[in-house]
């Protein structure tokens, strides 16, 4: 028996059970929907500054997610504090997402000009946008999946990549693909949340009285 591998599996299972509430799916789905709205709005109004919202969303998302965990998850399944290693990895990913969002904003702002390298970059982004977004989403989703042990995030990433690769050849505005993926993830998140709340109903029974006797 490999000691480290067995304990790592226990740690992963613990992490998975604490995140079976669907909250991560809801927030990731909303993040994707915000990107979708930004892209669709750009096709209508050239509103490139919309991308500031997805860039700052992770900073806004964390306190909201923590609050949702306290109100929905903890009263039902209890509370666990993981070691700092996992928390540091997650924080690094969130910071990376913010940087990526700001980077995308800067790139799109530069590309909105109509001369020189900006025009070349703009044409490159427009002609390969579907592939770029598909690969980016798959990478981000895989990072979260690996860190958190939530395998369904790999599925979201692959689904996004597959749809966007198909969209590159079918020539449908990719904002609609992103919208569809965001909706799928959000809906799945709510389904998981409802299942979680049914599986772990709020209780003030034996466990509270016994806990008090410790």
């Amino acid at each position: 028996m490999n000691k480290k591998m067995s304990l790592r599996e226990v740690e992963k299972r613990t992490y998975m059970s604490y995140h079976q509430d669907g909250l991560i799916d809801i927030f990731v789905g909303v993040y994707v929907l915000l990107f979708a709205l930004g892209i669709l709005l750009m096709t209508v109004t050239d509103f490139s500054t919309w991308f500031v919202i997805p860039a700052i969303f992770p900073a806004v998302m964390v306190p909201i997610w923590v609050s949702a965990k306290k109100r929905l998850t903890m009263p039902r399944i209890g509370y666990v504090k993981f070691g700092s290693r996992g928390a540091n990895k997650l924080m690094a990913i969130f910071i990376g997402l913010m940087v990526a969002g700001l980077g995308a904003f800067m790139v799109f702002t530069f590309a909105s000009r109509s001369q020189g390298w900006a025009l070349t970059l703009r044409n490159l982004i427009i002609s390969n946008g579907m592939i770029i977004i598909g690969i980016g989403a798959a990478v981000i989703s895989s990072l979260f999946a690996y860190t958190m042990g939530l395998k369904r995030l790999y599925v979201y990433g692959l689904l996004t990549l597959a749809l966007f690769l198909a969209g590159h050849f079918i020539n449908i505005p990719f904002g609609y693909f992103l919208l569809a993926i965001g909706l799928v993830i959000v809906i799945n998140g709510f389904v998981l949340l409802i299942q979680f709340m049914r599986k772990y109903p709020l209780s003030q029974g034996d466990e509270v009285n016994v806990e008090k006797s410790l």
């Binding site: 028996m1 000691k3 304990l7 226990v10 740690e11 613990t14 059970s17 604490y18 306290k70 399944i77 209890g78 509370y79 666990v80 504090k81 993981f82 070691g83 700092s84 772990y200 034996d206 466990e207 009285n209 016994v210 806990e211 008090k212 006797s213 410790l214």
Partner: protein
């Protein structure tokens, strides 16, 4: 206690009991957990879990911290340094027992 790692007598029998082993393993991979989480994760009844936790606390392996979070009573459980050391030694001794088994 003898330091011979191949001796079955070195196995910590307090940890070796299956239910307590599950508790120790679960607490080992986290910084702390509360009673409700342990109960759900290990699928134990409150009374059974409480009984085993009391034994582990008496041995100094588990620390039970009572606190208030947003004005609600909360019981956090974590392994002590002694408990983490005992768990590591238990793992090493158990591995040695299997290693020394005749082929």
């Amino acid at each position: 206690m003898s330091k011979n790692p191949s001796n079955l007598k070195n196995i910590d029998r307090l940890i070796h009991e299956p239910t307590r082993l599950m508790i120790m393993t679960q607490l080992y991979v986290v910084e702390s957990a509360d009673f409700l989480f342990l109960q759900h994760q290990l699928q134990m009844t409150p009374g059974n879990l409480s009984s085993h936790l009391s034994k582990l606390e008496e041995a100094g392996y588990v620390e039970i911290v009572k606190e208030f979070i947003e004005r609600k009573p909360h019981t956090a459980l974590e392994l002590t340094k002694k408990g983490r050391k005992a768990f590591k030694e238990y793992q090493q001794n158990l591995e040695q027992v299997f290693t020394n088994l005749p082929k």
